[in-house]
Assembly symmetry: C2
């Protein structure tokens, strides 16, 4: 049992290029969303929502926006980084089966959310825990997930009629894939390498 | 394999009262930390660090701070909520085997972090994904995790000599437990109930 969890954690990839567009059975999608919904949340506030985006036109509009933002980022890079970035695919919005937009409602469970008075972002953290549950569940089900972050929150709010008080946290592409890559895309394309765990560990104090 | 992941996701609890203080074998701790370290991160920035806090005096000092913050929160509650809150244990800092403080270094992988130019918090999100991997791995290993959030970030920075540019995201108590509760503490104590998943689902647009 333990081995399987570790295998799922290791196999999980941030997918851009391997979506097939094949259907996701309803019961599989239900299990994945329930896994997300069973995440821990500060003060049991469960401040997440999931917008399932299947509409083709909405996805095309978002895709165009993402590619405008890609150009904005590309313009900040120097020659070498720009050349590496040019080879990297940043989304699978149109090829994946559907998208799941995950949002954060800070008012949920308020006004006194247990555990949030000192750390305003604690509710935002909860939403991310739900996203990781979703991602691992999808991986275990043999699906791929790709988190797109080349967008402006206000654009996405407008596109999906998300209230001003609710914050979009992630646009996740979801669906069957031909395969999951062994090595993360960004490492394969020489963008960045994985860091040894030992460099991230400290004993009792920073640097200890 | 899939069933086991879902079982781990469902069994996972935010532990306060069930820590035994028994040792955590080194290889188990290594696997749990590696699971966290294998999380996805924006631009492969891997912006997390893990401070393993075993020192008794540091934990006692933090514990006193947490209980001061508890009083601050309690003072904001009206009679009914205050009575419910009085029964709720908020931390297992002294009873658990060790604590893991997880931090966020926004400068890691910079200045041009792929995928973060439009969403400044994307790096913070990555750290939370690592925390959920850690939490599930610990659960699968039969250990408990308790996320303490009754603290001020600056206090924790000072206590563990964390640089001003690095943000503490979580203080996690970790260790063997007598058992994991079936029902989350806050639900058992009548603080809040779990929300039906259906209320969190939308089709194509908010409210759809």
């Amino acid at each position: 049992m333990i081995h399987d969890l570790y295998e799922t954690i290791s196999r999980r990839r941030d997918v851009r290029g391997q979506f097939t567009g094949a259907p996701v059975p309803g019961d599989v999608l239900d299990r994945i969303l329930m896994a997300a919904h069973e995440a821990p949340s500060v003060g049991l506030s469960q401040p997440w929502d999931f917008i399932l985006v299947r509409d083709r036109e909405l996805r095309q509009t978002f895709h165009r926006h993402v590619h405008t933002e890609r150009e904005t980022f590309a313009a900040t890079l120097d020659g070498d980084a720009a050349r590496r970035f040019a080879r990297i695919k940043i989304d699978g919005i149109l090829e994946s089966t559907l998208s799941v937009v995950v949002t954060y409602d800070a008012a949920r469970g308020g006004p006194a959310v247990l555990g949030r008075h000192a750390i305003a972002d604690a509710g935002l953290y909860s939403v991310c825990l739900a996203i990781q549950n979703l991602w691992l569940a999808a991986t275990a089900e043999g699906l791929g997930v790709g988190w797109v972050s080349f967008y402006r929150e206000d654009f996405l709010r407008g596109l999906l009629a998300i209230p001003g008080s609710v914050r979009p946290v992630a646009w996740l592409c979801l669906g069957p894939v031909s395969h999951l890559e062994e090595v993360p895309d960004l490492e394969r394309h020489g963008w960045r390498r994985r860091r040894p765990l030992q460099l991230a560990l400290h004993a009792d104090r920073w640097g200890g």
